[in-house]
């Protein structure tokens, strides 16, 4: 079954959920292509900033990527192993954003 949209599970933890209406888990739907290219993690980050982020974008996004101190897991794997923002999203992917700036 093919569809024009990708269904993705997105989770925020470590205090990041406070920026997203204090809600940890979202299911979002993105087009398979963005700007004539397969939709990737950078597109998702910018989409989250424009559509779900409620306050203080500087604590989440910086120069089209996440702010330093945020660990991103793609299907339980460090996004640095998957190409970071260039990772092409697949239907059913689970993306977790974890803030490491908890304090002590």
């Amino acid at each position: 079954m093919s569809s024009d949209a990708l269904a993705l599970k997105v989770e925020f933890t470590g205090g990041l959920e406070l920026l997203f209406d204090n809600k940890k888990k979202y299911t979002v739907s993105l087009p398979r292509t963005t700007d004539d290219a397969p939709t990737n993690l950078t597109h998702l980050i910018l989409w989250l900033k424009d559509n779900l982020l409620k306050e203080r974008p500087e604590l989440f996004v910086e120069e089209r990527t996440v702010r330093p101190g945020i660990l991103v897991l793609v299907n339980e794997t460090d996004w640095e192993l998957e190409g970071e923002g260039d990772y092409q999203l697949k239907d059913g992917d689970e993306i977790i954003f974890i803030s490491t700036l908890h304090g002590g």
Partner: protein, 415 residues
């Protein structure tokens, strides 16, 4: 082709050196990159446990054979502390273990919500977390416990850098805590004060012969060392022997991954992010450094570990001084030191006032004196009136040192 933006034309260097397979087991697909090395989940847990155990002290180094081998854990509820408590429990309280290496194990939690507006009390959450581990006791302290108003608290006037004594009008410990924090001149000083009070409360509550574990991970340690030097606390870069930091080789990223995969529930940071403070700015700098140059942060910690302060060895230095406020080792003569290192001027009127009354500046370390007297802006009229209630232990120490300094002039009752 322009060279103005080399990132546009140069392929980015990958963050890992060798493939996507775990570099330990060489069979499983990698799931986390730690300083250029790829780990699968199982090997990552083994790697963290190994680093933790390597930093744990030998029981014999702290306990005489007749003493019970107590272990204290300073538990803030944050990321590092949650990982630390989990590692302690899995290592020393696992099912089927033989005679425990450490017993009792006590977690000390200091509730700091009274220091902030609108921050909820987290004691119930902490109880739930700690009680989830078998055989770990919890002691709950409160930041306001530092101000026991049953005996009158002393206060310091911050208008004069010699810090003359004044009286405190705070009726309750919470009032005194809030007055203490409100009197501090900068956001940096307020964060520093909360940290100092928490540290002193834990050290006073824990048994003196027991090591106290702090969940300071590598990233937080680098932040603490750099910001500590900026505060003027370079004399205390080396912690006392009681303080052990078993996560000092484990980064914030590793802690976050560990907490996520172990389903731990760290407390969110208390209070504001503190970006208007030295601590906040340093944290921002170190976290960026950690992302772009992952090995540099450990180099910061390793370099600072080699720094040993020159302790006062001359006979003129007198007995070793402990700061009356933070209770860390201090150098004598903070005012004289500052006279040599800073450009200052006094008006002639105020100079005369400074020769009268009892001043406390010489009982403090450089960092605490700077914390109380630094100014983020030009002093206004309201600052001149600031009176800072001091913790109970500071009041006791000042009274004892005042008695000591006049003991030769006190007449016995029989005379």
């Amino acid at each position: 082709m322009s060279c103005e933006k080399p990132e546009d034309v140069m392929p980015r260097k990958p963050r890992h050196d060798r493939g996507k397979t775990c570099h330990k087991c060489k069979t499983q697909p990698g799931q986390l990159i730690v300083r250029h090395f790829v780990y699968c989940k199982d090997c990552f847990f083994a790697h963290v446990h190994s680093k933790f155990r390597r930093q744990m002290p030998a029981r014999e180094a702290y306990c005489q054979p007749e003493q019970e081998p107590s272990l204290s854990v300073a538990f803030s509820g944050g990321l590092g502390a949650s990982v630390l408590l989990d590692l302690v429990a899995r290592t020393y309280r696992r099912e089927g273990a033989r005679k425990p290496v450490w017993s009792p194990i006590t977690a000390y939690y200091v509730e700091t919500c009274a220091a902030y507006d609108g921050v909820p009390d987290a004691v119930e959450h902490v109880k739930e977390v700690v009680n989830g581990y078998r055989g770990i006791e919890l002691v709950v302290l409160r930041l306001e416990d530092a101000f026991d108003t049953q005996t009158p608290l002393l206060a310091l006037s911050l208008a004069d850098e010699r810090l003359p004594l004044s009286s405190s009008s705070s009726a309750t410990p919470t009032d005194a805590l809030r007055a203490h924090l409100a009197a501090l001149p900068t956001p940096t000083a307020r964060l520093q004060a909360i940290s100092n009070l928490t540290y002193a409360l834990v050290l006073r509550a824990a048994p003196s012969h027991a090591p106290i574990l702090f969940g300071t991970h590598l990233t937080a340690l680098a932040v603490s060392l750099i910001s500590g030097v900026a505060h003027g606390a370079g004399y205390n870069l080396t912690p006392p022997a009681r303080i052990v930091r078993p996560l000092c080789e484990i980064s914030a990223k590793e802690c976050a991954a560990y907490a996520h995969w172990r389903a731990l529930r760290p407390l969110r940071s208390r209070g504001p992010p503190g970006m208007d403070s030295v601590l906040g700015i340093t944290r921002d700098f170190i976290v960026r450094l950690d992302r772009d140059f992952p090995s540099t942060v450990s180099a910061v910690a390793r370099t600072c570990a080699k720094v040993v302060p020159k302790r006062d060895s001359s006979s003129s230095a007198g007995a070793p001084l402990t700061c009356a406020l933070c209770e860390r080792p201090a150098q004598h003569g903070v005012l004289e030191w500052k006279t040599r290192t800073a450009i200052r001027s006094f008006s002639s009127d105020s100079e005369q006032d400074k020769t009268e009354g009892t001043a406390v500046a010489e009982e403090l370390c450089y960092a605490c004196h700077t914390m109380l007297t630094s100014r983020a802006r030009v002093r206004g009229p309201s600052d001149v009136e600031q009176v800072l209630p001091v913790p109970s232990w500071t009041s006791s120490t000042i009274r004892a040192r005042m008695r000591e300094s006049v003991k030769d002039f006190i007449l016995d009752d029989e005379d």
